[in-house]
Structure formats: structure tokens, C-alpha cells
């Protein structure tokens, strides 16, 4: 199996090499890079052409003609890029991704752009996998219910949505209109009523049950919304949001109990105890680490604490799990991760007034971060990144969310008909175990393949979304490079995204083998 995976890994790299060759040829021949200067009436047009030809590596060294053959330009470019694999800079040469038409250094650009784009693509991938799988499972469990029908329709809609159009709509309504509203953020009666009715219809559909139960849920939801929204308005939640100790405590306990009920069942006290211990530790840690987190100056402090959380959760699960070690670890790990997410959210909320004071319109429509933010608070800067990130992520998630939901749903329905599901039921296995362990695990096996294919689509989506939101990243590099017939930045984007796709495939292959023992040939 390992041999097969490495063989495939090597082949993908060869394919990447071939792709770079073909793409370079196509880009170079897609137009005339000097077209605008040939028609220019500038006195120094000749000189400009000369400098541009130099930047593009067009110039033949021994004449003043601009027709360096494309394969020699490719060779120059390739040796420059391969230099990046050579840390000593001596064997192959220096790391050099070439220069743009305007003389910009692509090596510096691509490092920055790749970081920004990767953040976007990875977050969108993770979120859509999690949300898509959850929606898919619920849809499959409630096949042919209103929830299933409306979700199928919404997913079809997302699947058919032109991304660039959705991005412009999101920019207009969720950024510009939201910023206008944030100048004086108050809910009026009408908004409260609409939200209450919408929730009163939506929540019972998701929760399900008998008609009576649905009506009760709907009424409770309506009354709840009608009281909470004016209350939030009254305490100025939109300007100074906080979760508070009460919410965090209740949230952590609910998470522990909920995951126990979902994964192991409430009668399993060992699992319940370890989940509750983690919840208690989380609430204690919220107070203990408050000052430390507030004083943070980089992502390393939160990340370190997060790693500590994972370690502690696993240890608690192992120690208190007893005979149900595996389930206890899963429950305490999930509780730990989500509790720390709630704590992080509270910290961000604490910084929200700080962001509003330096940036009254919280979501800018251009750029991946706000320039000249008059603050050096790590939390405010990080919150600024988040406020710029969330709309592009939302738009990019739409398509892949549809893919994952539809895929999970049909895969779950397919698996639910297998003999081993009937066998499991005949053995008297609980329904939770049948769905989560027998059906879900087997339905997820081929998901690895979908992730690999979907990733290429997401990179394409990132190009569009970054263009609409004016991010200074790979999408912009690609599009401006292509319009200027400028191979260096376009090739940099192709090699970077291709390299990441290769790595993703590698991981997917390994996952595949781990999940499905039958594949280990």
C-alpha cells in the first residue's frame, strides 16, 4: 500500500511538472505582452518596451530583438523555481520565481499571497466538510421530510449559483448595508417579528418529531426570540457583546452532556463524568488564562493553550474512561475543543468595541486586512482579519457545502440498505450506534476522494472571490498576470496550488487506506 501511495505521489509530481510545461507554453502564446506599448505614442515607448522585455526575459542577449524562444524562457524559469528546493543556493542556483512585467519580485509576492489564499481555502474546506456532513446525515435520517426537501432545494440552489454573482450580493448586503446598520445598531419591531417567525418555522423542521411536538417547539422558539432580541438590543449587544460566565458554564456542560448522549449514551457514567470534568476544567481555565490571553501578542499563545487543551482532554478521557476509554476520549476531546472555541469567541467579543473604535465600519469591502489600523492590540488586529475573512469564506463555502451535503446524503442512504446494517439492528445494537458507527463510518470512506477533487474547485472559487473582494492574493496575481501576458506570477500560482493539491491527494490516499482496510493490497 505504501508503495502504491508513494508511486502515486511521484506520478502527481510528474504531472505537475508536465502541467507547468503546458501552461507556460499556453500563457506565453496567449497574446502579445507589448501590445499596448506598440500602439503607444509616448516618446519613450521604445525604452519602456526594452525594460518590459527585460523583465519578461524576452530579450536575446546579443541583439535588440524581443523573441527569446519560449522553451528557453521556460528553462530559465524552471531553474529559478527548482532553486527553491536547494537550500544552499549553490547546486541548482538561487530561489527565483521570476519578475512581473512591471519589475515586481514574484518570490516576495507569492509567499504573502499564498498565506492569505491558503487561510481562506483551508477554513472554507474545513467548515464546509463539517457542516455538509452534518446536514447530509440529518437529511438522510429524515428522508422525504420537509427538512430534506428544503435542504435538497437549497443545496441545488447553491450548486447552481454563479459564485461571482453571489460574492457581489454578499458584498453589497452583508458588508455595505451591515456597515450602514452598525452606525446605529437597533432591531426594530418588524425585524424581530420576521426573525421570530423564521426561527419558529425553521427550528421545528430541524428538530422534527410529532406534529404536537413541532408546534410546541415552534411556539417556544417564537416566544424566546421575541424576548431575547429586545433584551440584546437593550444591553447594546451589537456594540458590546459578551457571553458572560453563565453562558460559558452552561454551554460547556451542555456540550459534555450532548456529546455523551450522542456518542455513548447517558447511561454510560464513565463517559459522562470525563466529559463533565473537561467542561469544569474548561470553565476554570477561562478564568485562569484570562490575563495571559489578553496579553497575547501573537497566535502562538492561543495555539499553545489549544494544544494543551487537547492534551488535557485526551488525558482525562484515558484516565476516567475505564472500559469505555475510546468513547470517553472522543467526548472529552470534542467538549474540550468546542469549549475552547467558546472561550475564544468570548475573547473576540471583548475586543469588538476596540475594533469599532478604530474601524467604525467593521467590514471593509476591499482587501484581506485593514491598512493603517491605529492599534497594536493583537486581538483587535486578529478580529480585523476575521471580519475581512468571513464573507469570502461564506461565499466560497456555498458550492462545496452543496457537494458534501448531497454526497453524504446519498452515501448514507446507500449504506443504510446494506446487510450489515440489518445485522447490527438484529443484534440489538442501539440506533445511535447503528447510525454513527456502522452507517456513518462506511459512508465516509469515499469522502477522501471527493475532498481531493473538491479542493481544485475551491482554488478556482478562491480566484473569483478574491477578485470580487479585492484581496491582494493569488487570485489577483493570476488574473492580472494573465491579462498582461505575464508568465511568472501565473506560473507561481499554478505551481503553488498544484503543489498543495498534490499534498492533499497524498493525505487523502493515506486516509483512504486507514479508513478502509480492504484497500490495503
Amino acid at each position: 500500500m505504501l508503495k502504491y501511495i508513494f508511486k502515486r505521489f511521484g506520478r502527481l509530481f510528474l504531472v505537475l511538472f508536465g502541467a507547468s510545461f503546458i501552461c507556460f507554453y499556453l500563457i506565453v502564446h496567449s497574446g502579445d505582452p507589448l501590445a499596448d506599448l506598440r500602439e503607444s505614442t509616448d516618446a519613450d515607448a521604445e525604452f519602456q518596451m526594452e525594460t518590459r522585455a527585460q523583465h519578461l526575459n524576452l530579450m536575446l542577449p546579443w541583439t535588440d530583438q524581443y523573441y527569446m524562444p519560449w522553451y528557453e524562457r521556460y528553462w530559465d524559469w524552471l531553474t529559478g523555481v527548482l532553486g527553491c528546493l536547494d537550500p544552499t543556493d549553490n547546486i541548482i542556483g538561487e530561489c527565483d520565481w521570476g519578475t512581473t512585467v512591471n519589475g515586481g519580485d514574484v518570490t516576495a509576492q507569492i509567499a504573502n499571497a499564498a498565506e492569505v489564499s491558503l487561510r481562506l481555502v483551508l477554513i472554507a474546506t474545513l467548515l464546509s466538510i463539517v457542516l455538509g456532513i452534518l446536514t447530509g446525515i440529518v437529511s438522510a435520517m429524515r428522508q422525504y421530510s420537509i427538512f430534506d426537501y428544503s435542504m435538497s432545494f437549497v443545496m441545488f440552489l447553491f450548486w447552481s449559483l454563479p459564485l461571482f454573482w453571489a460574492a457581489v450580493i454578499a458584498k453589497e448586503y452583508l458588508a455595505i448595508r451591515y456597515n450602514n446598520w452598525m452606525a446605529d445598531p437597533h432591531f426594530n419591531q418588524q425585524t424581530i417579528l420576521i426573525v421570530a417567525v423564521a426561527l419558529a418555522i425553521a427550528i421545528p423542521l430541524i428538530i422534527g418529531g410529532s406534529a404536537r411536538r413541532r408546534i410546541i417547539t415552534g411556539v417556544v422558539m417564537f416566544a424566546y426570540t421575541c424576548t431575547v432580541m429586545p433584551f440584546l438590543d437593550h444591553i447594546h449587544f451589537m456594540e458590546e457583546p459578551r457571553l458572560g460566565t453563565g453562558f460559558i458554564t452552561v454551554g460547556a456542560v451542555v456540550l459534555a452532556v450532548g456529546f455523551t448522549a450522542l456518542i455513548a449514551g447517558m447511561q454510560n457514567t464513565k463517559v459522562l463524568v470525563s466529559g463533565l470534568i473537561v467542561a469544569a476544567l474548561g470553565v476554570t481555565a477561562y478564568f485562569a488564562t484570562w490575563d495571559m490571553l489578553r496579553a497575547a501578542e501573537s497566535y502562538w499563545v492561543p495555539l499553545g493553550l489549544f494544544a494543551l487543551t487537547i492534551a488535557v482532554s485526551v488525558a482525562v478521557g484515558r484516565l476516567f474512561g475505564g472500559y469505555a476509554k475510546g468513547q470517553a476520549t472522543a467526548v472529552s476531546l470534542l467538549t474540550g475543543i468546542l469549549t475552547s472555541a467558546i472561550i475564544l469567541l468570548d475573547h473576540y467579543m471583548y475586543s469588538w468595541p476596540g475594533l469599532l473604535s478604530v474601524k467604525p465600519r467593521p467590514v471593509r469591502t476591499i482587501g484581506e486586512s485593514s491598512p493603517n489600523l491605529r492599534t497594536d492590540d493583537f486581538w483587535v488586529i486578529s478580529l480585523d482579519h476575521l471580519s475581512q475573512l468571513w464573507l469570502p469564506t461564506l461565499v466560497m463555502m456555498l458550492t462545496s457545502l452543496a457537494t458534501y451535503t448531497r454526497y453524504t446524503r446519498s452515501s448514507m442512504l446507500e449504506v443504510a440498505q446494506q446487510d450489515y446494517i440489518r445485522t447490527a439492528r438484529a443484534k440489538g445494537v442501539t440506533e445511535r450506534t447503528v447510525v454513527l458507527k456502522h452507517a456513518f463510518r462506511n459512508a465516509m470512506i469515499p469522502l477522501a476522494t471527493i475532498v481531493a477533487f473538491d479542493f481544485a474547485g475551491l482554488v478556482g472559487g478562491a480566484i473569483i472571490v478574491e477578485r470580487v473582494f479585492g484581496w491582494n492574493s493569488m487570485g489577483t496575481m493570476f488574473i492580472t498576470g494573465l491579462t498582461n501576458v505575464d508568465p511568472a506570477p501565473v506560473m507561481a500560482v499554478i505551481i503553488f496550488t498544484g503543489g498543495i493539491a498534490v499534498i492533499f491527494n497524498f493525505i487523502a490516499d493515506i486516509l483512504y487506506a486507514v479508513l478502509d482496510p480492504r484497500i490495503r493490497v
Binding site: 461571482f164 410529532s210 477578485r467 499554478i494 498544484g498
Partner: protein, 391 residues
């Protein structure tokens, strides 16, 4: 039956009797029903798929409207305004849509005008034409290439198969949008738009079809009728053409229809980015990018072309979904009947009880013929994941 008969004869007779009995039972069961051919079954399933039928009607209306209103090529249409700027055009109603204003249904410019002023209805219709043409041409080109390569790779295996797999890896490594944008900016200045773009997109988007056809051919190779054809000396091309492709027609049609939707989206994206169809030619993506800056002053310039892209792709996708359900009922229906309205809104138990009563009544009136499978929710072959809620 005398005692002299050998045991073998008795067995054969008994078997014959059982076969006769089974045939009689079979005839009894099917007496009340009409039998359908495979094609009829598929057609019936497709026509009973409500979203697909609605989409088919909408799609037909849009197609007919797009091609007759502004005409195509030298054929004139019935709409009075051209999609390019005519001489002496006047701004009516400040460029706002005249649809449903001043008591008129359409008015002179139902979708409004842009700042030049060109008629948006004519431009959107022209853009719709381009999208539909590109969708169909690309689906055709990519299907032909994909079927050919997929069938060859699946039947002959060997070198061709590894070449196909390498090209599939190529698609994983380089996003389709990237390669399409590079090729699109190469061909965007060629004459006879949008055909060069369509053929180019077809050349890069055949891999999905090839993979599916290959998988199908691989499974069909093991079938007995293929072995029989080989034994009778049929040539590989005859086997592929006569036995394999007709048996994988479902996969091919379904995938082609999804390709149409995907390609319409891809083309509008390319045109939006300025790498597909370029002015003075019109495309829906191009119209969206022109209207984007005027989203506050003239929102119709942005919304109408976008909604057209959305509606066309949505309809094509629904038709594709209906076709898939029709060709491969295992994928969607799972032997479950779509429930009525009452089950959907949560009155499942009530409906079940009623159906059970009806069933008992029906059983009492007709003579019982063996074990009866109660249709619908009582059927153990219904959605297995729902089973627990009925216990």
C-alpha cells in the same frame, strides 16, 4: 403416476409442476397490471419527477424566447430593439425597467436600459443564447471525446488507461478554471464567437465523462453477453458500439446534462473575469460584470442577468437529477415511495393507520393470495434510517 417410474423422472415432473405453478402465480399477479419496456419505464419515471418537469418547461420557454426574440445570425426576431446600440436610441423611463409600470405589462424596455442606452432585454436574450449554445456544444464535444477515450481505456486497458489516469490527475492538480482561463484568453479574439471558446472548453472538460464511461465499460466487460459476442468473433468496435455504449447510455446522458450546467457557470465566470466572451459580443457573465458597478443606481443591470444564469443552471441541474432518478432508480428512491403531503407535515402515524385500515378492507374483499406486502411506510424496505422511529 405409477410406481415404476424412476426417482429422476419424478423429480423432473415435480420440477415441471413447480415451474407451471410459478407461471400461473406469476400470471395471476401481473394480470391486473400493464407491463412496460425499459424505455417506457424510464420515460414514466422521468415524467413523474415534478421538479424535473417544471424545469423542463421553464427551460423550453427560456430557450424559445431567447432564440426567437432577437433572432439568430441572419434570421430576424420579433423583438424591435437590437442588442447592440442602435442609431437614435432614446432613454425611456430613466433606464429603469418598464415592466409592470404605468399599467403596461412589458412596455418598450421591460428589463430597462443601460447608460448608453442599450435595451437590456435584447442583451440578456442574446447572452442567454450564447450560454445555451456554449452549454450544448461543450456537452457534445466533451461527451464525444470522453466516451471515445473512456471506452478505449476501459476495453483495451494498458497504455491508454494509464494515459487517461494521468490526464485525470492533471485535472486534480490544475483547477479547471485556471486552465480554462488560460485557454480562454488565447481564443477570445478568434472569429465566430462563441464557438472557439465552446470547443476549447469541450477539449478541457471531458475527463469526468471519460472516467465514468471507463468505469461502466470495466464492469460491462465481465458480462456474459460480452463473452458471447467475443466467442462469436465480434470485433472490439462492434462490442463497444453495440453492447457497451447502449448499456451505459444512462450514465452518459445524465453526466452530459450535468456538464451543460457546469459549463454554463464556467463560461459566465470566464466572461465575468474578462477571459471568455468579449465585447462587442454579449454574454450573461459579461452583463453581470458591466452591471456590477451600478448595483445601487440601476440594480436591474446586475440582478437580471445573474438571475438568468441561476435559473438556467438550476433548471438544467434539476432535469439532470430527474434523468438520473429515471435511469438509475437505486440512486434516489431506495425502494421508498415518496410520501404524501400529510406524512411530510408530520402526520405520518395518522396516514399509516388509515392506509392499514384500507389495506385490511381490501384484503377482506379479495381472496388472500399468500403473504401480502403492505406498500408504503409499513414496508420493511423503506428508509432504514427511519425504522427506529416507527418501533
Amino acid at each position: 403416476m405409477s410406481n415404476e417410474q424412476t426417482p429422476e423422472q419424478t423429480d423432473a415432473e415435480l420440477e415441471q409442476q413447480m415451474v407451471d405453478l410459478a407461471e400461473v402465480e406469476d400470471a395471476k399477479l401481473t394480470a391486473g397490471q400493464k407491463s412496460y419496456s425499459q424505455g417506457q419505464l424510464i420515460r414514466r419515471r422521468f415524467f413523474s419527477h415534478v421538479p424535473a418537469m417544471i424545469s423542463l418547461v421553464v427551460l423550453t420557454v427560456i430557450t424559445v424566447m431567447a432564440f426567437t426574440s432577437v433572432g439568430y445570425g441572419i434570421i430576424p426576431g420579433w423583438w424591435q430593439h437590437p442588442f447592440r446600440l442602435p442609431q437614435g436610441a432614446v432613454l425611456v423611463n430613466g433606464g429603469q425597467p418598464t415592466m409592470f409600470t404605468d399599467g403596461q405589462i412589458f412596455g418598450p424596455h421591460p428589463f430597462g436600459q443601460d447608460s448608453l442606452p442599450r435595451d437590456i432585454f435584447a442583451r440578456v436574450m442574446r447572452g442567454t443564447q450564447q450560454s445555451l449554445i456554449i452549454g450544448v456544444v461543450v456537452a457534445f464535444v466533451s461527451s464525444v471525446i470522453g466516451i471515445l477515450i473512456g471506452a478505449i481505456a476501459g476495453y483495451f486497458r494498458g497504455k491508454i488507461e494509464s494515459v487517461l489516469m494521468t490526464i485525470t490527475d492533471f485535472v486534480i492538480v490544475v483547477p479547471l478554471l485556471v486552465i480554462a482561463a488560460i485557454l480562454g484568453s488565447t481564443v477570445s479574439n478568434m472569429p465566430f464567437a462563441p464557438f472557439p471558446l465552446a470547443i476549447m472548453l469541450g477539449i478541457v472538460s471531458w475527463t469526468g465523462m471519460a472516467r465514468l464511461v471507463r468505469a461502466e465499460v470495466l464492469s460491462l466487460r465481465e458480462k456474459e453477453y460480452v463473452a458471447a459476442a467475443i466467442a462469436m468473433g465480434a470485433s472490439p468496435w462492434r462490442i463497444i458500439g453495440k453492447h457497451m455504449l447502449p448499456n451505459s447510455i444512462g450514465v452518459i446522458i445524465v453526466n452530459a446534462s450535468f456538464t451543460v450546467a457546469a459549463v454554463i457557470l464556467l463560461e459566465s465566470t470566464l466572461s465575468y473575469l474578462g477571459m471568455g466572451i468579449r465585447p462587442p459580443e454579449v454574454s450573461l457573465g459579461l452583463l453581470v460584470s458591466e452591471g456590477e458597478s451600478a448595483i445601487n443606481t440601476r440594480p436591474h443591470l446586475f440582478w437580471i442577468p445573474g438571475i438568468f444564469i441561476l435559473v438556467i443552471t438550476l433548471c438544467v441541474n434539476f432535469v439532470g437529477d430527474g434523468l438520473r432518478d429515471a435511469f438509475d432508480p437505486r440512486q434516489q428512491r431506495k425502494g421508498d415511495r415518496r410520501p404524501g403531503l400529510r406524512q411530510v407535515i408530520g402526520l405520518r402515524g395518522f396516514a399509516m393507520a388509515q392506509r392499514r385500515n384500507e389495506q385490511i378492507g381490501a384484503d377482506a374483499s379479495s381472496q388472500p393470495t399468500g403473504p401480502h406486502i403492505v406498500p408504503g411506510s409499513n414496508n420493511p424496505r423503506t428508509n432504514q434510517l427511519q425504522f427506529w422511529r416507527k418501533k
